[in-house]
Structures are given as C-alpha cells and as structure tokens.
C-alpha cells in the first residue's frame, strides 16, 4: 500500500505539481470549449482566457502566501 501510495504521489507531483487548481481550471476550460464547439459557438478563445486567469490566480496565491 505504501509503495502504491508513493507511486501515485510521484505521478501526481509529476503531472499536477504544486497547485491542483491549475489542473482543475484546465480540465474545466477544456470541457467548456468542447461544449461550446459542440453547440456551434466559436470556442478557440476559452483556453487562452482560462490560462491567463488560472496562472494569475495561482501566482497571486503563491506570492501572497509567501511560498
């Protein structure tokens, strides 16, 4: 169990990193893009806007916490 947990922890750190909210924001933005594209609405702008938002919020959180 310990080895399994360490294995999971390694891949979590490797892909997700320090701030899981960034990953969550990306997944939500992809889902919204997919839904808009499916409905025939232009969706190319969602990811750039989402990236600017999640990056800004993540950096603000990090620098305010003094990390």
């Amino acid at each position: 169990m310990n080895a399994l947990r360490r294995f999971g922890r390694f891949w979590w750190d490797f892909v997700i990193g320090d701030d899981w909210r960034v990953a969550a924001g990306v997944v939500i933005a992809l889902a919204v893009s997919g839904a808009l594209a499916e409905a025939g609405v232009p969706a190319w702008w969602i990811l750039p806007v989402a990236v600017a938002g999640v990056l800004y919020l993540s950096l603000r959180r990090e620098t305010r916490s003094g990390g």
Binding site: G17, V26, L36, A43, W44, L47, L55, L59, E62
Partner: protein, 244 residues
C-alpha cells in the same frame, strides 16, 4: 513552422534537464566511482528508451482529435507548472536554479554517504546516477511523446532531444564541471512558454474548436503566452519591490 517549434521545444527541454542530470552524474562520478556511476546512467537511458519505444507506437493508434485533447490538456497542465515556476524565479519570488550550488551539495552528500558494494558496484553511485538521469529524463520522455504524437512525428521530437543529449554530454565531458554558464533559467522559461502554447493550441483543437486561420494561429498563441508571461513577471516584480 510547427516542425521547427517541435524540434526546438524538444531540444530546449532536453538540454535543460540534461544539464541538471549532468551535475548529478559529475558530482557522483568525480567523488565516488565512474564505473558504477556510468552503469547507473546506462541503465536509466535504456529504461527511458524502453518507455518511449513502448508508448510511442501505442499513442499513434489513438485518433488524432482524441489524442490532441488528452495531450493538449496534459501539456497545458505540465507546461503551466514550468511557466509558473519560471515566472516566480524571474520575478524574484523563488530562488534561481544554480548548478554550482547543486553540484556542491551533491558532492557533499556523495562524500558523506557510506560505502556499500552490490554486484561489484558502488551502490550509492549507481543509484544516485540512475535516479538522477531517470527522473530528469522522464520529463523529456513525456515531452517527446506528447509533442511527437500530437504533431504526428515522434522521430522528429526524438531527434531534437537526442541532439541536446549529444551537445550536453560533449560539453560536459570536455568541461568536467557543471554547466553553470548555460542560461538554464531562461531556457526553462522558454520551455514553459512553448509547452503552454502547444497545450492551448492542441487542447482547443482536440475539444473541437477551430482556430481562426488554422495553423497560422500558432505564432499568435505563442505571442499571447509570451506577453502574458512577461506581464505577470513585471506585475509580480513590482509587487515584491513595493512590499520590500
């Protein structure tokens, strides 16, 4: 254009990771035992090659839109990690990576470690070299596989990464010292920008969105990510100075 970005990204990402791996290998090799160290390096390289060889063909079977959605999402999450750290370093909120300091730390740890021999090898030298190369190389393997498969050319990404390995190994063998003059922090910034750019581009395409102008939108996305990153560096730097 995309092919040039692909090779440049794989080269830069691999170079920056190999510089870090070289620091570990040199410190252990010079302090402990070269035969054990190089054995560790060799086994790690074989393991990495096996990962790329096993997963590469498997990825090419997945339909391109599904692949780009998954790869775009992963690259974006992974790239934002790099970019976030690079912005924190560039704005002074995180210490810059220093190879000389890392080298001194590795040397100190290698000297302090006990001596244990297994299969005729200095086990400390073998495991540290193996882990160092494998862990740094895993990021390269991830980038090579994701970039290469989404662009439809894993061999091109492998070529970019292999060129970086050759350059770093040759320069490292000649210098026999950590490559501290390599602008590693700037290179990491550039890799973060490229991973994020491709992540946005492929992620949106994979989700079903159409970019205005098709592939011609890629440099515009790149410019957007560059301007966003420099804007955030500037904002965070000003805030740090205001609080100082």
């Amino acid at each position: 254009m995309s092919a040039a970005f692909l090779v440049a990204s794989a080269f830069l990402a691999c170079a920056v990771e190999m510089v870090e791996a070289l620091t570990i290998v040199l410190a252990v090799g010079l302090t402990r035992d070269w035969r054990s160290t190089l054995s560790g390096v060799g086994v790690a390289v074989v393991a990495l090659a096996a990962i790329v060889a096993a997963l590469g063909p498997a990825l090419t079977v997945i339909p391109i839109d599904d692949l780009r959605l998954v790869v775009g999402g992963l690259l974006l999450i992974f790239g934002l990690q790099w970019l976030r750290k690079a912005i924190l370093r560039a704005s002074g909120h995180k210490a810059l990576h220093d190879e000389d300091e890392a080298f001194a730390r590795e040397i100190e740890e290698a000297r302090a470690a006990g001596s244990e021999r297994r299969a005729g090898l200095d086990w400390y030298a073998f495991t540290i070299a193996f882990k160092g190369v494998l862990l740094e190389g895993l990021e390269v393997a991830f980038i090579v596989l994701t970039f290469g498969s989404a662009q439809g050319s894993i061999p091109l990404a492998v070529a970019g990464a292999a060129a970086a390995v050759v350059v770093v190994v040759v320069v490292g063998a000649v210098a026999r010292a950590p490559l501290s003059r390599v602008p590693e922090n700037s290179m990491k910034f550039a890799v973060g920008v490229m991973l994020t750019t491709f992540g946005i581009f492929w992620g949106a395409e994979g989700a079903g969105a159409d970019w205005p102008g098709g592939d011609a939108a890629l440099p515009v996305v790149l410019l957007f990510v560059v301007l966003l990153s420099f804007g955030l560096v500037s904002t965070l730097r000003r805030r740090r100075l205001a609080l100082a």
